[in-house]
Symmetry: C3
Subunit: 203 residues, 3 copies
């Protein structure tokens, strides 16, 4: 039986891959191209984190992430007509993934001996850079830098993590609270249309 954290990890991977595959399909990528975009969206952030930490990229130690991305492709192929109705479900899955990925990024960086500010940066990279790489691949301006609270939810979760840690909250509880903080920040920001102002140009 897989535990709760692994389940969240797989749910997040699935949702991230789906988002890559759907955007690739809008650009008429072929099946394999869409699969690659899905994989990059799902594992891209964690891969950049692991390269920066000088760790073996996490997806190279077990095939689950490739397999789940393959299932995501299959899902889009088979349920193409109904996928759009599941937008809300995917949004929740994606937010679950964002929360988990951010916390995994923070925990791994601390484990590797880096200070907290590096860990928060790594949590944000883990959560947000997969989507950024997706948008580079499909040749669009990264959406995560222009719409809603996304990367910033990871930073917020990192600060919550740090706060709990300072107050001596036990690690598993700290991580749970921080993941929920990312999830809630993301969900509430979208629900109440909270977003950062755009930086005005100079004109």
């Amino acid at each position: 039986m897989i535990d709760f954290i692994t389940l969240c990890d797989y749910v997040g991977t699935f949702a991230f891959a789906i988002s890559g595959i759907r955007l690739a399909s809008a650009k008429k990528f072929d099946w394999f191209g869409a699969y690659v975009v899905g994989v990059v969206t799902a594992v891209g952030g964690g891969t950049i984190r692991d390269i920066l930490l000088n760790a073996t990229p996490f997806w190279m130690t077990q095939p689950s992430y490739m397999v789940i991305s393959g299932l995501a492709l299959l899902f889009v192929l088979v349920f193409r007509k109904y996928v759009i109705r599941l937008n809300n479900t995917f949004f929740i899955f994606d937010a679950v993934g964002l929360g988990l990925f951010a916390i995994v990024g923070i925990a791994k960086s601390i484990e590797f001996g880096f200070p907290f500010w590096v860990a928060i940066v790594m949590g944000t990279i883990t959560g947000a850079f997969g989507g950024m790489m997706r948008d580079i691949l499909i040749n669009e301006e990264p959406l995560i830098f222009r719409k809603d609270i996304y990367a910033l939810a990871c930073v917020f979760g990192g600060l919550v993590y740090y706060g709990c840690d300072c107050m001596g909250v036990p690690l598993p509880l700290t991580q749970f609270i921080a993941a929920v903080a990312v999830f809630m920040a993301r969900v509430l920001a979208v629900k109440y249309h909270v977003s950062l102002p755009a930086l005005k140009g100079e004109e």
Copy 2:
């Protein structure tokens, strides 16, 4: 005297660099910019592979790849008017490079102790991600995800490699067969207009 494998390596590098330089020239990049795009196309895939494997990037241990990319720039500068007539030749050179690069990526990954499925991913990255980085640099949607069989030929060659390996075929022969498999898959797919279907959007 250089051996046959080194010759294929150089021929492939030359063809990959030419493709980068030609596409950069269509975007009015200057000479040096075109050279950089050529180098990235030629060595980009293998560099990502080496970073993921935590190996020293292959082109940093000998200057051949920079020099060959420089020759490719010179070639395009001098024979500009005739380059287009050599399209078929470049296509063959490119397919030779694809086959060799994919097999080098597989062999190196296995040497580094990774399982076969990682090696096949690395072979595909080695063969196809240089072209992907080229298209990102010239700000186009990656062509290799939308046209003909390209990255998938590397996956196919990887499966052939694995099959031969399982059947106890001697390593040099396995590698030769697998490289030819990539080459043939690529050439036949283009000749007979075989391609993966595009993933249909949701609309």
Copy 3:
């Protein structure tokens, strides 16, 4: 008290971050997105260098670069209306950064035991690839490959470094001369509109 080299480093980081933030603002990125683009512009080149050298990315060992990029964001937010008048100042700051970054890249590569030609490539990557990543993020064709002498000034500075080194010039003086060479090459090229010819397409 910070020394002269550290001051140049900070001035360069500030100018690079400003250039990223300004271009992001022209694309309506939000504050945090603009900050990320600023950080990537400022530390992107050195990060790629460190990944290739298999060193810990320099910005992960001290928070200055994140802080300076934050100050750059604040500066653009507060002085938005006057930023454009400071174009010449930013240009000089940027050229100072280019010179320093290129020389830091060269020195670090030699320290890691690589030959001079690798060091020159690394100097160019350190100086020029931050701007390249900036242009990829904002979805534009990299400007540094199409306008003025930019990356090539780093190559020139690298050759000057090599020349001084061969002639037995003491290291600190060599580095100063090479940094000034990059700075002057960049400034004079812009002042006298010197640029490489565009590579003509085939057509």
